[in-house]
């Protein structure tokens, strides 16, 4: 049972870290376009890139 002394604060800490991660992801614009990436992956480009220069 004593392990709870460690586990409960740990769970609170992890929740806090997840919260900060999410806040950072949101601020970074990760959730601005929720549709595009799903489509973009289907338009995979098979042709090798042409070097234009």
């Amino acid at each position: 049972m004593e392990s709870l002394y460690l586990l409960i604060p740990l769970s609170v800490l992890i929740a806090g870290i997840i919260g900060v991660l999410f806040w950072w992801a949101g601020r970074d614009g990760q959730f601005d376009d929720l549709e595009g990436p799903g489509h973009r992956i289907l338009h995979d480009d098979d042709t090798p890139p042409q070097d234009p220069s």
């Binding site: 929740a15 999410f22 949101g26 614009g29």
Partner: protein, 822 residues
């Protein structure tokens, strides 16, 4: 080689004129086959795309592209202007080492393949460092090296594949919206995460027998819950705090009051219990409560923002550049100037067909303006020296020299946009009623809670706080306030997926009560793209000559009939002058020194001295007939036919019990033919925009509720006047702005919209009844102390959840509908 699979344009899918087909006049070579395109613009675009090795665009797209107009030189000249550093200052971010970054808004995007195509095309340019396009907002972020590539080259590259890119000022409202959305999402997430974690810590207390968990562990669990709930109360609840404070200052009690009081009372009571080690904790109730409320608000906000797109299209009416006359009247040399840097009293030249860049006064010239969108007046308004013109209205027939009188936020257009924003923010009547009831309810609730506290404080002080908190939590009217928005959000989302966008709050409510449906014919029930069916020559001229003349006269018009005549034949190579457009009638111009009129027979008869030929009387009565005449003689007539959309039949079959009408500016014959084929009883032909308006208003005077379905600019006033209106997408932007709903899918979706609207009303009523009933039953139970706070929060959350689940039934069968459409 006969490789053409159909007679539609390889690029844009529009019909290719038969004359341009065999052999193709504008051929492109795609995978070793010759394909026909409809015009030089589409040909150039398709060739550019194929030459760049981006041919998989044509296999991956699911909608044809927009018809590509060849780029006028002026536009290229305007693009060059964007390279000037002083102009770039407003929208380009300069980084060290000549690296620049800008936001562009793309026009013409219709599917995911378009996004792919544009990203490739921009990315191919040497010197472009990064490009990404947002699928939902059609905005592109581009980073480039200014030493190797110029912004104008990037814009030109986009134009070369048939799209338009405009630099876009990120300082505008969108940035604000985006920040708001991000913040709302973060709040929701914080509440959700905390809810899950607190529930984990609260679970042991729920399942254990009283006294089974020792005080040490209980304290640890409670302290953990307290820490996890702290960000919910301090951060996630900010919106409620702000609302509560706003209401307080206006001396009102709103929906936020019981939320704030309940959250703080429960939170403080729990903190007290945690610190003293006595009493119940309600941290789980607090975080769950806040999460559910925030979730509802977030969804509601998303739906409202989608609707806001219509208002944005109005802002785009103002062009980016104006022709400024710096040395007027000494010189007529015009200077391309960005509208943003115009000043009051600047002198501008406005060419025919261009929108006025700002509110202004006419100094020179005489012409007419199309102000349908801004004033509701559908017919052109004559403008002479001294008259005021409205920014955003379109200068129709003659170049005008004007002096700027109002700019930016001072203009009429800006005022209209503000009005539209207001209309969008307005709540449906039912939601208003719920809010009003909830306001009183909240006040009564606070009084009852206070009375309960006092009563129990006298009789049983130990139970006073838990009972008061239970009363506050259990009877919080959040189910009541969620009832309407949840149902509307679910219905709006489902219809949006099916292709019907709801842009006004009241639209679904009114749609359910409609008794009459009025359709515009052209472009709504029919494809709106008539084809030339037959030509009748009165004179000695050959039919092809007549067609060439007609194509020449219609060369500048965007009317569907003009397009049909244009695609039927190459225009005659004669000089045209004194061109005049009579909306609702036809066009007039001097061709090779002879004044000609082309248009409706009665319009031409007004002008031609000769009597109407007898051959015209019964000729092609079921089709639209357009005549060509000079002042002395009738030259010929053209019959133009339009096809009924196949989904129109399905729609009318699915609208039982509603009276249907059809209105059209066309002659009786074609309107009757369409009405008969579709089984529409009431019809009105040869109706001018004002007649349509009168017709709808007459119906309304009889006490009928009218749904108007239309697509043209001339329909905009009628759409605005009807009880509820549907603008058929792809139509004029003005009509879209005036419609309460915008239809982007096929017509049959409208029938589903009608069914969903009725279902939504039913569900809203069920929700309101449930929420009220629940509160009436639960309140007495809490008052007598039979309900502990955790049970209360369970009841509250359960009640809200039930309301939301009931609403979600509306969103249910959307997947099936989508599959059917595919």
């Amino acid at each position: 080689m006969r490789a053409m699979s159909a007679q539609s344009c390889f690029h844009c899918g529009e019909k290719v004129a038969p004359a341009d087909l065999d052999p193709p006049r504008y051929p492109v070579s795609y995978r070793q086959q010759v394909q026909a395109t409809c015009c030089a613009g589409c040909q150039a675009v398709a060739q550019t795309i194929l030459a760049a090795g981006l041919d998989s665009y044509y296999t991956q797209r699911d909608k044809p592209a927009e018809r590509a107009a060849p780029l006028p030189d002026e536009l290229l000249q305007q693009m060059q202007l964007y390279d000037a550093p002083e102009l770039q200052a407003s929208f380009v971010k300069a980084e060290p080492g000549e690296v620049r970054e800008a936001a562009l808004i793309l026009e013409g995007i219709s599917c995911a393949a378009c996004i792919w195509l544009n990203e490739r095309q921009i990315g191919r340019l040497p010197g472009v460092l990064a490009v990404s396009i947002n699928y939902t907002s059609h905005r592109a972020r581009v980073r480039w090296d200014n030493r190797r590539v110029q912004l104008s080259q990037i814009l030109a590259a986009v134009a070369a594949i048939g799209y338009r890119a405009h630099p876009y000022d990120a300082e505008r409202q969108d940035a604000l919206h985006q920040q708001e959305r991000r913040r709302a999402l973060t709040r929701l997430w914080v509440a959700g995460l905390s809810m899950m974690q607190v529930m984990m810590l609260a679970y042991p207390v729920y399942v254990a027998e009283p006294g089974e968990i020792s005080a040490t562990w209980l304290g640890l669990l409670n302290w953990g819950s307290l820490l996890l709930t702290l960000p919910v109360v301090l951060y996630a609840c900010q919106t409620f705090h702000q609302g509560f404070w706003r209401d307080l200052r206006r001396r009102r009690v709103g929906m936020d009051a019981p939320v704030v009081i309940g959250v703080w009372a429960a939170f403080l009571a729990s903190c007290l219990a945690t610190m003293t080690g006595r009493g119940e904790v309600y941290f789980d109730s607090v975080s769950m409560f806040v999460f559910l409320l925030l979730g509802g608000r977030y969804l509601e906000g998303m739906a409202r923002r989608k609707a806001g797109a219509a208002a944005e299209s109005l802002v785009k009416l103002i062009p980016a550049f104006a022709h400024r006359l710096d040395n007027y009247p000494a010189s007529r040399q015009s200077q391309e100037t960005p509208v943003a840097s115009l000043k009051l009293a600047d002198i501008l030249l406005v060419k025919p067909g261009e929108p006025y860049p700002a509110d202004a006064e006419v100094l020179e010239g005489q012409g007419s303006a199309d102000e349908a969108l801004l004033t509701g007046e559908a017919r052109p308004v004559v403008k002479t020296v001294g008259d005021a013109v409205i920014g955003g209205a379109i200068n129709l027939d003659a170049p005008l020299i004007v002096r700027v009188s109002h700019l930016g936020q001072e203009t009429r257009l800006a005022a209209i946009v503000r009005l539209l924003d207001q209309a969008l923010a307005e709540k449906p009547a039912l939601a208003q009623l719920a809010d009003r009831i909830a306001g009183w309810f909240v006040l009564a609730l606070l009084l009852v809670a206070a009375a309960a506290y006092l009563f129990w404080h006298w009789h049983d002080p130990a139970h006073a706080l838990p009972i008061t908190v239970a009363v506050l939590v259990i009877s919080c009217p959040c189910a009541l306030s969620l009832a309407t928005p949840a149902a509307l959000t679910a219905a709006t989302g489902r219809l949006a997926r099916a292709g019907l966008l709801v842009t006004r709050g009241h639209a679904l409510e009114t749609l359910a009560k409609v008794s009459d449906v009025v359709f515009d014919k052209t472009g709504t029930l029919t494809f709106g793209q008539p084809r030339l069916l037959a030509t009748l020559a009165f004179d000695t001229q050959r039919e092809t000559e007549l067609q060439a003349l007609a194509a020449l006269l219609e060369a500048a018009s965007e009317h569907p009939i003009a397009l049909a005549l244009r695609t039927a034949s190459a225009p005659a190579e004669l000089a045209v002058s004194d061109y005049r457009n009579y909306p609702g009638g036809g066009v007039e111009a001097a061709v090779g020194g002879q004044c000609l009129r082309l248009g409706r027979p009665d319009f031409v008869a007004e002008f031609c001295a000769a009597p109407q030929p007898a051959a015209l009387a019964d000729w092609q009565a079921e089709h639209t007939v357009v005549c060509l005449a000079s002042e002395q003689a009738w030259l010929g007539a053209f019959a133009l036919g339009d096809q009924i959309k196949p989904d129109a039949q399905a729609l009318l079959a699915a609208l039982p019990g509603l009276r249907t009408h059809v209105l059209s500016g066309d002659a009786l014959g074609p309107v009757q033919a369409v009405a008969q084929q579709l089984g529409i009883a009431e019809l009105r032909a040869a109706a001018l925009p004002a007649d349509k308006l009168a017709y709808v208003q007459a119906l309304q005077a009889e006490g009928r509720r009218v749904l108007m379905v239309g697509d043209g600019i001339n329909d905009a006033p009628v759409l605005a006047a009807a009880d509820v209106s549907v603008a058929v997408g792809g139509g004029a932007e003005a009509a879209q702005a005036a419609g309460d709903l915008v239809l982007v899918g096929n017509l049959a979706v409208l029938a589903e919209g009608w069914r969903v609207a009725a279902q939504t009303q039913r569900i809203i009523r069920q929700n309101l009844l449930w929420a009220l009933g629940y509160n009436l039953v639960a309140l007495p139970l809490a008052l007598v102390g039979w309900v502990t706070p955790w049970l209360a929060s369970l009841g509250m959350a359960g009640s809200s959840l039930l309301v939301v689940l009931n609403a979600i039934r509306l969103a249910g069968p959307s997947r099936q509908v989508q599959k059917q459409r595919e």
